[in-house]
């Protein structure tokens, strides 16, 4: 199992680079990763989405999809695309220290 090291943080990842252990994640680490994927500063809106993802995954064991973020988290999909441009669901799951979502919708 490969692992990533940045500053004082080391965390296990899968071959794609996604976290394999959510406990190895922390908020300061997420800030660093956000800067690395081109998001820069994480605002309250970013954090709301990331915290929901972590809470929901803790409950269900599955990383929520964008659709679930919309129906269960009451997030605006358009806004999520603005906050996390490109591949929002994958980027959010990464910054939240979770596996990438596997649901189709």
């Amino acid at each position: 199992m490969p692992s990533n090291t940045i500053a004082e943080y080391t965390f296990a990842v899968n071959e794609e680079g996604f976290f394999t252990n959510r406990e190895e994640w922390s908020e300061p680490l997420a800030e660093m990763l956000a800067s690395m994927v081109g998001i820069g500063e994480l605002t309250d809106a970013h954090w709301a989405a990331l915290r929901f993802m972590r809470d929901d995954q803790a409950k269900t064991g599955v990383t929520p999809t964008l659709r679930r973020m919309q129906t269960q988290g009451k997030f605006d999909v358009k806004q999520l695309f603005t906050l996390f441009p490109g591949k929002p669901a994958k980027m959010m799951s990464y910054l939240a220290g979770l596996p990438k979502p596997v649901g189709c919708v």
Partner: protein
């Protein structure tokens, strides 16, 4: 922007920007009329049955979530998907579908879940309604939205939707009946322009 440390495995979030950064100068074969922009997907939705509406909607949504530019072109019976008068009432029929078997029947007798129902059953009055309701329930159980809701989701995800001019005229549709997310009614030649360089799926 923080630089990626050596040996660090970072998932690819490039999406459109990564596709655009492909060095076209080194490519010897021109593709898509010289198109060298970001990855693009075009879905041609030509069927108005409930079970044939979903493949396009699901793929379009998945592609948008991967940062791919998506266009959906609704033609012939596929127009029913974006017609507000019909898209809440799309139906599923057993008739002509030889792959019609039900997982739940396996509870009655092992093996029955793979039993293909005879075609005459699909012609029993009311059977299309029953089959449609069952499919609606199965789709909802998976957390997948209804067709009209799905169009809103696609719109929020940035998918561009277009109606086919000839089908629109042939079905005597009016603009007011189109789902608001539909960008416009376009001709086959307009479609050729917007599909330049795109991966195209006919559904």
């Amino acid at each position: 922007m923080r630089t990626v440390p050596e040996g660090f495995i970072l998932p690819s979030f490039g999406g459109a920007s990564a596709a655009a950064s492909v060095d076209v100068a080194t490519q010897t074969m021109p593709s898509g009329g010289g198109y060298s922009g970001p990855r693009k997907l075009v879905l041609i939705c030509s069927k108005g049955n409930l079970d044939m509406a979903y493949p396009g909607l699901i793929l379009g949504n998945a592609a948008a979530g991967e940062g791919i530019e998506v266009h959906m072109f609704f033609t012939f019976w596929g127009l029913d998907i974006v017609n507000k008068k019909t898209n809440g009432k799309l139906q599923f029929t057993m008739v002509g579908n030889t792959a019609m078997h039900m997982a739940d029947l396996g509870n009655l007798h092992p093996g029955l879940e793979h039993w293909s129902m005879p075609q005459w059953m699909g012609r029993i009055p009311g059977m299309t309604k029953i089959a449609t309701n069952m499919m609606h329930k199965q789709i909802a159980d998976l957390g997948v939205p209804t067709v009209p809701e799905f169009l809103d989701l696609l719109d929020a995800a940035g998918v561009k939707m277009w109606a086919c001019r000839m089908s629109f005229d042939m079905m005597k549709m009016i603009e007011a009946d189109l789902h608001p997310a539909v960008q416009g009614v376009i001709s086959a030649t307009d479609f050729m322009e917007l599909s330049e360089g795109a991966q195209t799926l006919f559904i």
